[in-house]
């Protein structure tokens, strides 16, 4: 299987992908390099003491001066998912609805490829697009050993898997909404709104008691909201994220089968 359409879509997004990857790498290495200056600053921990909701909104909860607390508050609870979601949701909305609006999907869909295969290839492209930013961040964090920042590799790999799957889930949601409506704007807008709500639920659940039980409904909780950097990702959480991605992929395939391609 040659996956020509996957490669085509990756080629089209190559430039923006390189941009995102370089951007997040610069940011991540800066965060890592700043750690020695902040690790002894215990006043920083006051920010998140007694369940500070404002800090929680920005993804900071728990002590900030521990290696995992520092990385969570500055990278994994907020910035890394944001960047990966920008990549995957952007592509998810563009891959079917956006390309149909541009007219280029018609070109692809009138070649002898089944719609099921097109969805599969585009889904594969989305997974591959999420990789560079996640891996670049992981490599920068691994470079943290040079900056007194030590994290367990298995846990870091688990958190990386978590943000990857999170990106794929929301990208698949955008793909589904795009395939169902044929509208890139609807796909982007709806997915962004749902992702924002899911993020808020997961970030506030440690500090706002009535939100706490809702956290199980948020993919963010399974990916980054459950101290994955400190404890690794549980098989159950990874399974939930993979299961959601699979469901959304199947639904996208069904929706795409009915879509009018222009």
């Amino acid at each position: 299987m040659r996956a020509d359409t996957t490669r085509l879509d990756l080629r089209i997004r190559r430039r923006s992908l390189i941009g995102y990857t370089i951007g997040i790498a610069i940011y991540a290495i800066t965060i890592v390099a700043l750690y020695p200056s902040f690790k002894s600053d215990t006043s920083l921990n006051k920010l998140t003491e007694h369940g500070n909701a404002v800090a929680a909104i920005f993804g900071a909860s728990g002590p900030l001066t521990s290696p995992t607390g520092w990385l969570d508050a500055n990278l994994y609870a907020n910035f890394v998912p944001l960047i990966i979601l920008l990549v995957t949701v952007g592509y998810g909305a563009a891959s079917i609805a956006g390309q149909d609006e541009d007219g280029t999907l018609g070109l692809v869909a009138t070649l002898p490829t089944s719609r099921r295969r097109l969805v599969a290839e585009k889904f594969a492209a989305m997974c591959l697009l999420a990789l560079p930013a996640a891996l670049a961040t992981m490599l920068c964090v691994l470079a943290g050993v040079g900056f007194e920042l030590h994290v367990d590799f298995a846990h870091l790999a688990g958190a990386t898997l978590g943000v990857l799957l999170l990106g794929i889930d929301f990208g698949a949601l955008a793909m589904l909404i795009g395939a169902a409506t044929g509208s890139r704007g609807t796909a982007l807008g709806t997915t962004a709104a749902i992702a924002a709500a899911a993020y808020i639920i997961s970030s506030l659940s440690p500090v706002v008691s009535w939100i706490h039980p809702l956290r199980y409904a948020s993919p963010f909780f399974y990916a980054v909201g459950d101290s994955q950097l400190a404890n690794g990702i549980s098989a159950g959480s990874a399974g939930a994220l993979v299961g959601l991605a699979a469901l959304l992929a199947i639904a996208s395939n069904r929706a795409f089968r009915r879509l009018d391609i222009h």
Binding site: L8, I12, T104, T110
Partner: protein, 303 residues
């Protein structure tokens, strides 16, 4: 098998918007079939139904005896398509588009593709966004023809091409049918269609108005007859005749549109001592406009 396309009672509704209704026609293998209609008549909708891009509301479509919504891969493997509004990936070059399509189609032999590129002088090296509309259209034509498909579905294929390349396109169509392949040519540019098609169907407001050979249409089409008289005449003398319509009148000159036998008209002209007559066979252009306007002659013809 002699039927390339067979469409029966094909209907597609878009919510409240009209799509196409009860479209029925057949295209034989090896012919050039013209698909004519004004803008918005339902040409592109019909084509997308043929290619399985739209699922139909009802009706039956077969391309080489296959249902394009079920056997899409088999059907599309034998079809080349130029869309009405060709959209290419702006950042990719023409060459990258051709490579992609060739890979998906599993093409190994690129000789014919290279020949087409040379004939149309297609620019393969610059990103598509840097190309003019005509130059993009050339890429679209190569994409459709390069794998020598059994059926070409062409929606306004020569838009943006200069006259020389339009001629080249006509040659290409003739070569294609000479090899026993089939061309379905949709257009509102009648001159282009008139030069190449064997049969034609006209669609208007989502319904097929008529399907016939070009000759058949011409023979029943209104002819234009111009009469000159030595003195002013009353056009009412002609307007009363069956199948005659006065198109234009000057003092001593009348232009008439005539369907059916001309004898009554000629005897009237004789009585009024006409001094000159010119008769022109209607070309498809006028015929098409007549259908488009939906004049009484059209209604008579369509029934």
């Amino acid at each position: 098998m002699t039927t390339a396309i067979s469409v029966e009672g094909l209907t597609r509704c878009f919510g409240g918007r009209r799509g196409v209704t009860d479209v029925t026609f057949e295209v034989n293998v090896g012919e050039v079939f013209g698909f004519l209609g004004p803008n918005g008549a339902g040409k592109s909708t019909t084509i997308r139904l043929l290619l399985g891009l739209y699922p139909p509301t009802s009706g039956r479509t077969r391309i080489f005896d296959l249902d394009p919504t079920i056997d899409a891969v088999k059907v599309l493997g034998r079809v080349g398509y130029v869309p009405g509004e060709l959209a290419l990936y702006p950042r990719l070059t023409g060459g990258q588009h051709l490579d992609y399509a060739a890979q998906v189609r599993g093409m190994a032999d690129h000789a014919y593709r290279d020949e087409l590129v040379a004939r149309f002088q297609a620019d393969l090296d610059r990103p598509v966004r840097a190309l003019s509309k005509g130059n993009r259209q050339k890429i679209g034509l190569v994409l459709a023809f390069m794998h020598r498909p059994d059926l070409l579905v062409l929606d306004e294929p020569t838009s943006g091409l200069d006259p020389l390349l339009q001629d080249e396109f006509v040659h290409l169509v003739h070569e294609t049918v000479a090899e026993g392949r089939t061309v379905f040519l949709s257009s509102h540019e009648l001159n282009e269609v008139q030069r190449v098609v064997d049969r034609v169907t006209i669609i208007k407001d989502g319904r097929i108005v008529v399907t016939d050979t070009v000759e058949g249409l011409r023979s029943t089409a209104p002819r234009t007859i111009e009469l000159r008289f030595a003195h002013p005449v009353d056009p009412a003398r002609f307007a009363g005749l069956t199948g005659v319509r006065v198109l234009h009148q000057e003092t001593d000159r009348l232009t008439l549109s005539v369907t059916g036998p001309v004898a009554p008209l000629l005897s009237a002209a004789g009585e009024l001592e006409a001094v000159d007559v010119t008769a022109r066979r209607a070309d498809l252009d006028e015929l098409f406009l007549a259908f488009y306007r939906n004049t009484p002659e059209t209604a008579a013809h369509a029934s």
